[in-house]
């Protein structure tokens, strides 16, 4: 628990990444935006092993179909670190979401999504302690 939990945001579209990041920042989160799964796993690894001074993520938001490391691969990775992961994707099918949930995803959103619902889910899994 911290006053500014860190959210690792993996999204390859710059406009959407910027929008979600700014909204999460507005509601009090520290956002680390990356553009693909590989970068996400890299950040995770660096921070979890204390190689980087950056804050370790308390939550991960990621798309599924990204170049260089699929979201599913990322899921398997984050599971090791027990970091709650939310899936946000344009390619959502019931089967894909089922697979994601079985791998430990805490929520799945299909684009276009309700931004407030997303923020609410973030609050649930990475609560902020009042500062």
């Amino acid at each position: 628990m911290s006053s500014h939990p860190c959210v690792l945001l993996a999204e390859d579209d710059p406009d959407l990444r910027e929008f979600v990041a700014s909204r999460l920042t507005t509601i009090g989160y520290r956002v680390v935006p990356v553009s693909n799964g590989l970068e996400a796993m890299q950040y995770l690894s660096d921070t979890m092993h204390d190689v980087s001074p950056e804050p370790a993520p308390d939550l991960l938001i990621t798309d599924i179909r990204m170049p260089q490391a699929d979201g599913i691969d990322v899921l398997a990775y984050t599971r090791m670190w027990t970091v709650p992961t939310i899936i946000v994707t344009a390619f959502g099918t019931p089967e894909t979401f089922e697979e994601a949930r079985s791998l430990g995803a805490v929520a799945c959103f299909s684009k276009p999504f309700d931004i407030e619902a997303l923020c609410q889910t973030v609050r649930e899994h990475a609560p902020r302690t009042p500062s």
């Binding site: 406009d15 179909r65 344009a90 390619f91």
Partner: protein, 497 residues
């Protein structure tokens, strides 16, 4: 006509031979009969005269006898008979005077000396042929000399008659041949020449494509039979023609249907990609609008929010327009277009679809335009097919590289190099095994599961590029990937790219 001439000539030669042989035999027979008759007449004359001569010789002596002969000879000369007999008394020895010398040489007359009659043919001193008969006289003069009556007549009349007969025969033959030849020519022309010419004419017309021509030859013979068969053949050709025309129409229709089906499939795939692609900008629009509507945006942020919404809306409009552009053109109009732009557009349209399969699309281009006369939506259809195939070749994801270039190349089956625009779609997927390599462009050939693909994509693409006077090549190594190269003829007068 040559046929008739050959037949006629053969026939006439046979007739000639037979006629000549028969004629000759007949003439010879007649001549022989004539000569036999003459011989008989000569001998008869001799025999009739002999007793009287013998009596005169015995009673009045040699001189009177010889005078009698002379007298009779004179009388015979004055008779106007056809073959004048010349009656003479001749001695059968060398001592005879010229008057009493036989016409025939003595050695030949040995038989006469033994009291036998003899008839021979000989030449007179003036060269003419004569028939000479010898009738010996049973008179033995005191000096033991042998003599005989010589009755001779010219064979010239006979010879003349023979010659005339032969001439008549030849003349008749000649006339006959001429008449027969003429008749045969006429009949040949009527029965063979005209119908054959007519049949040849009809054959020519049919060969030139006019299948309505029919031979009007109705003879009840071999030519009529030929004409009937030709009619039957022409009817069958007409029927076959109609069948072929129908089949060609059906085939063209089938190709059209195939192209249309593939087009719809492509539109469907692109639409699916578009639907997914719209999700992202729509998320921004809906998110920002929602926050605005709920009053959660500060005054200073309103304008940037609105600007972002507009930007995403424009983005969505562009995405939709691309798809509509592709869907709208029914195809068929070709114009010089920059293939680099077409390739980039196709890559943009297909990028989201590719992303779903974890595939990237890269575009390599020089930057200089590569212009070629193409139908934009048909070309896009080809590129879509190739990209979709490449995506399927990489089930675990990968990268598709599309490149455009201008190069000199030789069309398959030709020996000239020309300038072509070449678009390559390369993947590093599973590759195409050698044994299916030659089948990939066949319609309905597919290695996918039923329902996954129609197997039309490459066949239709092949047809479209062929219509553009180009061709598609595939090079592949199993396990190393495939490269499809699309060649389209390019304008000559553009800067070398």
């Amino acid at each position: 006509m040559r046929l008739t001439a050959k037949l006629t000539a053969a026939l006439l030669v046979a007739i000639c031979a037979v006629a000549l042989v028969y004629g000759d035999i007949e003439v010879r027979r007649q001549t022989a009969a004539f000569e036999a008759q003459l011989e008989e007449s000569q001998r008869t004359v001799g025999r009739l005269f002999r007793p009287m001569l013998a009596r005169t010789w015995r009673n009045e002596g040699e001189l009177s006898a010889l005078y009698l002969v002379q007298f009779t000879r004179q009388m015979l000369r004055e008779e106007s008979v056809e073959s004048k007999f010349d009656l003479r008394w001749v001695w059968l020895d060398d001592a005879a005077s010229a008057r009493r010398l036989p016409l025939v040489a003595l050695p030949a007359l040995a038989a006469v000396a033994t009291n036998q009659e003899l008839t021979v043919t000989t030449r007179a001193p003036d060269g003419s042929a004569r028939l000479v008969s010898y009738v010996p006289l049973p008179v033995t003069p005191a000096d033991g000399r042998r003599g005989a009556l010589e009755i001779s007549s010219s064979l010239q009349p006979v010879r003349a008659y023979t010659a005339a007969s032969r001439a008549r025969l030849l003349a008749t033959l000649a006339v006959g041949i001429a008449v027969l030849a003429g008749l045969s020519a006429l009949i040949g022309m009527w029965l063979v020449g005209r119908p054959v010419r007519r049949l040849a004419e009809v054959a020519r017309q049919i060969g030139a494509g006019d299948l309505s021509a029919r031979p009007g030859v109705r003879q009840r013979d071999e030519l009529g039979y030929l004409a009937r068969e030709m009619t039957r053949m022409a009817n069958q050709l007409t029927a076959a023609n109609t069948r072929v025309a129908k089949e060609t129409r059906a085939k063209l229709q089938a190709i059209e249907h195939m192209r249309h089906a593939d087009r719809l499939a492509t539109i469907g795939k692109l639409a699916s990609g578009v639907a997914h692609e719209l999700g992202t900008p729509l998320a921004v629009v809906s998110g920002r609008a929602q926050l605005l509507a709920e009053g959660k945006v500060s005054t200073t942020e309103v304008i940037p929010f609105a600007a972002s919404i507009k930007k995403q809306a424009d983005r969505m409009a562009a995405i939709i327009r691309q798809l509509m552009d592709f869907a709208r053109h029914a195809g068929g109009e070709r114009s010089p277009l920059d293939l680099t732009k077409l390739v980039r557009d196709a890559a943009n349209m297909l990028r989201t679809l590719a992303k779903e399969s974890r595939v990237d699309i890269d575009v390599e281009a020089h930057g200089r335009p590569v212009i070629a006369p193409v139908d934009a939506s048909q070309f896009q259809q080809v590129l879509s097919n190739l990209v979709v195939n490449a995506i399927h070749a990489m089930p675990d994801g990968g990268t598709i590289t599309m490149s455009i270039s201008r190069e000199r190349a030789m069309p398959p089956g030709e020996s000239d190099q020309r300038w072509y625009a070449c678009v390559r779609v390369r993947d590093d997927g599973v590759g195409i095994p050698a044994e299916i390599g030659e089948h990939i462009f066949e319609p309905f050939f597919t290695t996918k599961e039923p329902g996954e693909g129609s197997g039309l994509g490459l066949a239709v693409s092949h047809g479209i590029i062929a219509d553009h006077d180009g061709w598609i090549e595939a090079t592949s190594k199993p396990g190393q990937g495939t490269c499809f190269s699309v060649y389209v003829p390019t304008e000559i007068d553009q800067p070398i790219g």
